[in-house]
């Protein structure tokens, strides 16, 4: 299962990710992305990869879901 991870240090609130993947990413009032905590559905993986690729700050990542700690 894949999940979206935002590197909050790298992120500069360009907001492209929320435009490319509105199903899973919304922006807070300051323009920073908030990621839906539920696992990424398979049909969104392609759009998610695009969000990863197009982030000008390289702040969006796709990771295999870790075991819950």
């Amino acid at each position: 299962m894949l999940r979206i991870v935002i590197d909050p240090v790298a992120c500069d609130a360009y907001g492209y990710c929320a435009e490319l993947l509105p199903e899973a990413i919304t922006l807070d009032e300051w323009g920073y992305p908030m990621v839906d905590a539920t696992p990424l559905p398979a049909e969104l993986v392609a759009a998610a990869k695009r969000a990863v690729r197009d982030c000008p700050r390289r702040a969006v990542m796709l990771q295999r879901r870790e075991e819950p700690r």
């Binding site: 590197d7 909050p8 240090v9 992120c11 807070d28 300051w30 920073y32 990542m61």
Partner: protein
């Protein structure tokens, strides 16, 4: 040096951090020489890891991370590296690490030496922020005593990072030692060792190291003789606020909150306790019997945090005090993550409006929404601490919140604060 046996000898001596000799001669009389092997010894390393695991010690820097697990991660991260003594104690209400370095520096340094021997690290670095000259003198003296007697196996140095709240966060400290940049780093996986100059770095809190220093000498039984089964040992707690005798106390883990503050003598009837420091939580009178232990504190939504209890008397305003803390925490953001940079000042401003009894109609829903949204979105836990503090304030001081919402400012809101907050914070 030169003790014939490098075995860790169990004894049932009392395990106490305070009341230890401050000088090396006294330390040696009390404890003997450092029980580490002359050269790298895999069997000794394995036994030491097992000893630490059996002790059940968890870190005392705020995260309560199992000390043995941290060592295990470091052992798997290659030979050589640095053991960092984290004496940053950025929490303004906390004194325990300063007191420990003044009163038992050799115990702390011995803990670092034991860990270095247990993971093959070749140096110990003590990180104490600039400005704490009295503590720095005590540490420098202790280091000189040790060097003169050729007491240690690996070198020990004192360095002075900037004095900021988040400078002591372990990834910020490792990055400062690595590159001079005092900023937390984004680490999605905390099970990976920190690095300095591409070699592993083990960052341990000062108090944690003092416990390790004693456990290495006296064994597990003495440590576990106090505290509770799940959380053995004693712990240091700094008590401040509305008390006659503020200071650092050492109590067994699991001591009820109200018993911990008794010896400090509250100067007013107690309204609430801020447990865990400025990124901790308020606890109201119905929960004063709660044992000071992570498991029990968790059931009331609190954590042991950095070992701080601030006593708030009934002549204080919890909302006004929380607003002051929120502003301080906002000022201490390292400025990297949007939710922290923008969220914390926004939350602090709303809390101030609330304390002054002049909230707009949208304040409470806005404040609650922001708390939900900020949570968990920083590279470090700094914003989470601020959120926990404010959330607990809204719960414990719910009556005050209702009054302030109705436009009644707190009669006590402009009383002098009971908190220690640096006046120049953020400048």
């Amino acid at each position: 040096m030169g003790r014939s046996s490098t075995e860790v000898t169990p004894s049932i001596d009392h395990h106490h951090l305070l009341g230890q000799p401050a000088d090396l001669a006294g330390h040696l009389r009390q404890h003997g020489s450092l029980p580490v092997p002359e050269s790298a010894d895999r069997n000794w390393q394995q036994r030491f890891l097992e000893l630490l695991a059996a002790s059940g010690l968890a870190g005392r820097g705020g995260a309560s991370f199992p000390s043995a697990v941290k060592l295990q991660v470091a052992r798997a991260a290659g030979d050589r590296g640095t053991v960092v003594v984290n004496a940053m104690e950025g929490e303004p209400a906390s004194d325990k690490d300063k007191v420990l370095l003044l009163r038992a520096p050799h115990l702390v340094l011995d803990g670092a030496q034991l860990l270095a021997a247990a993971c093959g690290a070749e140096r110990v670095v003590v990180c104490l922020p600039v400005g704490r000259d009295r503590v720095a003198s005590a540490v420098a003296l202790a280091l000189a005593e040790r060097a003169a007697l050729r007491y240690t196996r690996v070198g020990e140095v004192l360095v002075r990072p900037p004095d900021r709240f988040v400078a002591g966060e372990e990834s910020a400290l490792a990055q400062w030692l690595d590159s001079g940049l005092s900023l937390p780093t984004f680490r999605p996986d905390k099970g990976v060792a920190l690095r300095i100059a591409s070699r592993k770095a083990l960052v341990y809190n000062t108090e944690t190291l003092a416990h390790i220093g004693l456990i290495g000498r006296q064994g597990v039984a003495a440590f576990r003789a106090q505290g509770i089964t799940e959380e053995p040992g004693t712990c240091l707690i700094t008590i401040t606020g509305s008390v006659m005798h503020p200071g650092v106390v050492e109590v067994p883990r699991g001591t009820p909150l109200r018993d911990i503050i008794t010896s400090s003598v509250p100067s007013e009837p107690v309204d609430a306790l801020l447990v865990g420091g400025y990124g901790g939580t308020w606890v109201g009178p119905p929960h004063f019997a709660t044992p000071y232990a992570s498991l029990s504190l968790r059931t009331i939504g609190a954590t042991a945090g950095v070992g701080v209890i601030v006593v708030l008397g009934d002549q204080g305003c919890g909302i006004a005090e929380s607003a002051r803390i929120a502003h301080f925490l906002a000022s201490q953001s390292s400025g990297q993550c949007g939710p922290c940079v923008f969220g914390l000042p926004a939350v602090a401003d709303d809390l101030t409006l609330l304390a002054e009894g002049r909230p707009d109609a949208a304040l409470m829903p806005r404040l609650l929404r922001r708390l939900d949204q900020i949570q968990g979105r920083g590279a470090c836990r700094h914003p989470d601490g601020a959120v926990a503090l404010v959330r607990s304030a809204l719960g414990v001081f719910a009556d005050d919140v209702a009054a302030h919402q109705a436009g009644r400012p707190c009669a006590y809101a402009h009383r002098p604060t009971v908190l220690r907050i640096p006046l120049m914070a953020g400048t």
